[in-house]
């Protein structure tokens, strides 16, 4: 009898545990939690110059040459910067509202008719969704505004078209994959991360990196303000100065970054992303790691930065 009671209790505990786990899985996530606001001191409107010359490319560190100087943004484009663009472009008609999306014209890609190739002809394409609760901006039908506290966080939920339109609007462009990698890695060695070959939780925002913008029991890992990992201490959280050799921040972690290459393989319709994100393990933060998605894809861990060439 005693044994039976014990078995029943054990079963009840097991069932209860399973139920609790399942209930926890169904918990609603606060997509806009109250978070600390930090000024990192890094200017998101700053640019870094990358000189012409060779650098080590890819995991196998093959020597590649970029025969021109170029400039690239020191940080990813912030929510505040993107909202300014949306308001300006909406006012002058470069951006339009279609249903739940802000759209803009894209002239299309060459089409090769390869199996599974996506045909992207001239037309209006999605830049950002307007009704996604995980976006860090609002739209009241007339004006875009930043949700308070997210001004200096990287712009997310932006498609490749959205990134392309932003850079193009100001006469810039998205960096190519090679430009992005050289800016992240420098030209001296074949380091895996912008700061070297070691990674700790103080270097970058990645999955379970325990920064102040992370609560793995509810909303998970969120973005950190751009330039957050600059050696400062934020409420006791010590960071390492994780700038790249050319002084760029957030080239590893925080948000995946769209790069500009179209058809890096004939018939490949995706666009490439680099840098890993707040939601991936440290292995994805290595400078050569590629991710990709169709150009209309947007996600809460995808952003971008721009480049320009002085000719």
């Amino acid at each position: 009898m005693k044994r039976r009671v014990l078995t029943l209790r054990l079963r009840s505990v097991q069932t209860l545990s399973l139920l609790l786990v399942l209930l926890a899985a169904c918990a609603r996530v606060d997509l806009d939690p109250a978070l600390p606001v930090y000024e990192t001191g890094v200017d998101p409107s700053a640019w870094a110059r990358v000189p012409a010359g060779p650098f080590y490319h890819g995991q196998e560190a093959e020597l590649e040459e970029i025969p021109y100087d170029y400039e690239i943004m020191v940080t990813p484009v912030t929510v505040a910067q993107y909202v300014d663009f949306l308001n300006a472009a909406l006012a002058d008609g470069s951006v339009r509202i279609e249903g739940d999306y802000a759209v803009a014209f894209y002239p299309g890609d060459p089409f090769h008719g390869k199996k599974h190739e996506l045909e992207i002809g001239p037309g209006n394409y999605l830049l950002v969704p307007l009704a996604d609760p995980s976006s860090r901006f609002t739209f009241d039908g007339q004006t875009f505004a930043v949700k308070p506290g997210w001004e200096n966080h990287p712009m997310t939920n932006v498609s490749w078209f959205g990134a392309w339109a932003y850079c193009g609007y100001y006469g810039w462009r998205l960096p190519t994959e090679l430009e992005w990698e050289k800016a992240a890695r420098g030209s001296e060695d074949a380091r895996a991360y912008p700061w070297g070959d070691e990674i700790t939780r103080q270097h970058a925002n990645f999955y379970a990196s325990r920064d102040p913008f992370e609560d793995m029991t509810s909303y998970g890992s969120l973005t950190t303000p751009v330039g957050f990992y600059n050696g400062k201490v934020y409420d006791g959280f010590q960071t390492v100065n994780a700038a790249s050799p050319y002084g760029l921040y957030d080239m590893a972690g925080n948000v995946w970054q769209w790069v500009g290459d179209v058809h890096f393989q004939e018939g490949f319709s995706d666009r490439l992303m680099h840098g890993g994100s707040r939601n991936t393990y440290d292995m994805d933060l290595r400078v050569w790691v590629r991710n990709s998605a169709p150009p209309m894809y947007y996600g809460p861990a995808v952003g971008f930065r721009c480049a320009k060439i002085d000719r």
């Binding site: 399942l22 995991q59 995980s134 490949f268 998605a293």
Partner: protein, 491 residues
């Protein structure tokens, strides 16, 4: 000295001893290297292990390390299957001994020196010994194929309840032979590009990522090699389970030709990826996979029927519940085929799902999500094969009564919980967005960690028990040394 000699003779001279050593090696490697990724990395255990063991982990070499780690484990699994085959099927004593010596030395060399090379700096002598180990395993495979030659009259099948040709050729042996032969050939599809890429330390994901239209012949070869080797290990374990359970009768006669046909066509399809047949290779693979999976289904139907029949033999008119109770009364006999059925949810189901929802997946999902799904499903298949091996092992070491029930059901429950959660994790993007996923991910991770963690604890308990048993003069090991697997096949 006699103490050591008798134990050494048991561990390296008997089928059950050899299987025990290989399982222990896999358990050690899994426990140690499992601490370098996933939740252990998140908790900071990885850093402690790396420092304590003075590992040298260069970020650029991560994929290369994992390739060697997976080969180390896979070689030990292949060795276990070879021990089982040589213990279950008749063959000349010379072949049996030679195959076992070659594969044992081979997998131990590959595992020990491969891991030393990969995780503790690059001592090229170790790399050479790793390659030597792989080469010895290849030669063991060649010898095993010769030993299994089905047209040897000494091994013709005299009993009409088993699948055989009119001339008496044992079709089950022919199926083992076909699988062994195609495994040896398919290994070349990894060896050649492995040498090509390894020479320059190049790596890439061995998955046929559809959104990447251009792949070289060498890349196709590696992709094909990974998939066919795992499929062949799965086919071989299905044949081994069939022999262990003494699969026979009408369904056996249908299943064995299907298994041979499926295996050949499947291989031709995979080998075709490096030929101009590449555009239709997938179609050939589907055509080959169908009879193989049908043969496994026939084994399942037969074995479940046998379990029900023997379990209700004392009843005149058994009810449905009585039949069900008879089916599940022995988890070690029910478990292997149940796991094969469950595999359809974690692996085949995912494959079909990927094919059906192809447009949604690669038109909308980022490549990383596709990668999680692709790599996840064959990790799940590998784990399922491991659980089937553990269930057969539980039977051959003579687990009885409550211990047998606990051991068997724990393997089934824990692995299915973990692998079911892995499968949901792979497919989560279908029903939840990235921003809202964390509670679900947490719950799934708890299930995965709980299932796999306790499974490893169970395995550790068994290993400790077996270790202590070796110190007893009349331990279980003395009894195991006297029985060959073929004598213990179900009646």
């Amino acid at each position: 000295m006699p103490f050591l000699k008798s134990r050494f003779q048991y561990l390296f001279g008997t089928t059950k001893g050899l299987i025990l050593v290989a399982i222990a090696m896999i358990a050690l490697v899994t426990a140690l290297f499992g601490m370098l990724s996933g939740p252990m990395a998140e908790m900071g255990v990885r850093e402690i292990i790396v420092r304590a063991l003075r590992m040298d982990l260069q970020p650029a070499e991560r994929e290369g390390r994992i390739i060697i780690l997976y080969h180390s484990i896979a070689m030990a699994v292949v060795a276990i299957e070879v021990y089982m085959i040589t213990g279950l099927l008749g063959m000349r004593e010379f072949y049996k001994k030679a195959v076992r010596v070659l594969i044992t030395v081979g997998y131990l060399l590959a595992m020990i020196f491969g891991l030393l090379f990969a995780y503790w700096g690059h001592e090229w002598v170790f790399h050479g010994l790793y390659i030597t180990g792989l080469a010895l395993i290849f030669f063991a495979g060649v010898l095993l194929t010769i030993a299994l030659w089905p047209w040897d009259k000494a091994y013709f099948q005299p009993d009409p309840v088993y699948a055989r040709t009119k001339g008496g050729v044992d079709l089950e042996r022919a199926a083992f032979f076909t699988t062994a032969l195609t495994t040896v050939i398919s290994s070349i599809f990894g060896a050649v590009p492995g040498s090509y890429f390894g020479n320059g330390f190049e790596v890439f994901l061995a998955e046929n990522i559809i959104r990447l239209p251009e792949k070289t012949t060498m890349e196709y070869s590696v992709i094909g090699h990974l998939h066919i080797m795992l499929a062949l290990i799965a086919i071989m374990i299905t044949l081994i389970v069939g022999r262990w359970l003494n699969f026979r009768g009408r369904l056996h006669k249908i299943a064995m030709p299907l298994m041979i046909l499926g295996c050949i066509v499947l291989n031709l399809g995979v080998w075709g990826v490096v030929t101009p047949l590449e555009p239709i290779a997938h179609m050939i693979i589907y055509v080959g996979a169908t009879p193989s999976m049908l043969a496994a289904l026939l084994l399942l139907i037969w074995s479940w029927g046998e379990l029900i029949r023997t379990g209700t033999a004392h009843l005149t008119k058994p009810t449905f519940l009585q039949k069900l109770a008879a089916l599940v009364r022995d988890p070690l006999k029910f478990g292997p085929t149940w796991q094969m059925l469950f595999m359809n949810f974690t692996t085949s189901g995912i494959g079909i799902f990927m094919a059906v929802r192809l447009d949604e997946i690669f038109r909308l999902w980022p490549a990383r999500e596709e990668r999680i799904e692709l790599t996840g499903h064959w990790h799940a298949l590998s784990a399922i094969i491991a659980t089937i091996i553990l269930m057969y092992y539980g039977d051959i070491i003579g687990l009885k009564g409550k211990i047998r029930q606990i051991y068997g059901w724990a393997i089934i429950f824990l692995s299915d919980l973990a692998l079911g959660a892995v499968t949901v994790f792979e497919m989560k993007r279908l029903f939840i967005g990235e921003a809202e996923q964390q509670p679900l991910v947490n719950a799934l991770m708890y299930m995965i960690d709980f299932g796999l963690g306790l499974l490893l604890v169970l395995l550790a308990i068994v290993m400790v028990w077996r270790l202590t048993d070796l110190f007893k003069p009349k331990g279980r090991w003395t009894e195991e040394a006297t029985h060959e697997l073929a004598e213990e096949v179900s009646k």
